[in-house]
Symmetry: C2
Amino acid sequence: MSPQPPLSVGHKILTGDRATGQLHLGHYVGSLQQRVALQAHNDQTILVADMQGLTDNGNTPAKVAGNILNVVADYLAAGIDPSQTTICLQSGLPALAELTMFYSNLVTIARLERNPTVKNEIQGKGFGRSIPAGFLTYPISQAADITAFQATLIPVGDDQLPMLEQTNEIVRKINSLAGKPILTECQPMLSNMPRLPSVDGKAKMSKSLGNAITLDASDADIAKAVKAMYTDPNHLTVDAPGQVEGNVVFTYLDAFYPDPAFVESLKAHYRRGGLGDGKTKAILTECLQAMIAPMREKRQALIADKQYLIDVLKAGTEKAREESSQTLTQVKQAFGLNIF
Amino acid sequence: MSPQPPLSVGHKILTGDRATGQLHLGHYVGSLQQRVALQAHNDQTILVADMQGLTDNGNTPAKVAGNILNVVADYLAAGIDPSQTTICLQSGLPALAELTMFYSNLVTIARLERNPTVKNEIQGKGFGRSIPAGFLTYPISQAADITAFQATLIPVGDDQLPMLEQTNEIVRKINSLAGKPILTECQPMLSNMPRLPSVDGKAKMSKSLGNAITLDASDADIAKAVKAMYTDPNHLTVDAPGQVEGNVVFTYLDAFYPDPAFVESLKAHYRRGGLGDGKTKAILTECLQAMIAPMREKRQALIADKQYLIDVLKAGTEKAREESSQTLTQVKQAFGLNIF
């Protein structure tokens, strides 16, 4: 198990996931574990981002709608406690759309097109000139999400820093219009955890690419995925020295094996020769199976009780609606539109 | 008084005005009279478009906020009857923002940039590359306005036809996603009335340019405006033949004088010579003073009773909230997001 960053306390934290697929070990190690650790000592809101999921799935909305409860089940299975963390649905919060409309008047198209994260994503998705308007403008919508909850701390990868810059620009403009600080600037909480590679060591991990281990993977799924894992292509016999860097099995052992000293001893053995991939993969398989089994069982029970998942999401959404409406009222006041 | 187009009946009509200034005679002849005529036999909703007003006034919101009740007073003074017409405030209708978010995923930036109306306006406003996102995307927001009320007939100038095309494109996409016709395509109701020129015959009429006669203009304001009116610059003596075309005094007489035959006789006289501008202007002044006096008085009484204006707008907004929420529910269903 990798060392965790020192825990933040007393913050208003906003995180979330696009509801476009089941969560997997990449999410677990990259964010879910952190959220579980943070929830007791912070005011944490998790947004199931269905609206953001639609920004590049406008014509395939079932991909989003069909994954909302999957994501909620993943949260609960991973240890998110709805009595400590507010889990809410983006499309259930009208204030987010309204704030987006207000903020859209304060951000230029040129500014959006300069956003390096969006630029990369537009390239990556091959939109060309056919970018949906909602996709180009989603940093404005993210600013609405963050400010609606007056979030002070946002766990992000460093590729998301431009989003927070954009948010804080909007915060300053609104506060200047209001003549007083009604919105709070946010700070990034950067993870010290490198992105977990996919099983094949190549593309981004994703269930649809078949290179991810989901939180409900069976023992057989796990064994199969680890068996297919990319190691050191030059490590041709057990006796030969092997390379640990870029060897996905060791990256996963670093991320998940509970005893780091043991992993270090395995690495040394592998480097000097005499340790086969079969053996390292067996150790990893067993470790992942032991870790995932209780999540899988919890998740299966949750998915069998859809109404419970809906109730959890509904309760969280109602709480979030209250909070986000308060922010909207203040922003409307800043624009002078508190007529009723 | 110019002939009115044959009256439409039984339609759901949506119209509105950006809340960025008092209304003036251009609005009166271009739309207010028509709305008064339509209200008895159609289901008419008028949107006070404060959110759209912000799309190019994001940094000067007081210009919008300060004109909302002015516009409501103008409506009532001009004869809009709140028991027949729903007068509502755009920012008071969350469903419009939510529909805009949904539709934004179905319209590309390239499509928005091709919109000739928006193209012209961007040029006219000198935005260059600094177009606010909300301005480029306002055709999507207009589609939200129109579809939220399932409007079938939209009174527009022909410069607004591209907006209705965009709206109907969105309608077809949503209906295709839903697998059934949940939204209604709209049709333009083109006015046969040419745009009323400004007093100086040059720029667009606008109170801030000082070339418009507002609905609360005093007799002195009217006399002064008509005195400054552009006529025929080559009509140097009373005896000389004058030109009627492009002569703003005659355009206004055509638009407002109750007896068209008398205006025709004036035109003939002016053309053959012997009719001075002093005389035609006196006739127009008297005509406009007689027409505006009752509106001005009604408007002054209304503006003195702000709470009444707020009550009218609030009641209309509540009714409109009901209607627009129903449409939102159906659109959310089309996207599969009716989880609660």
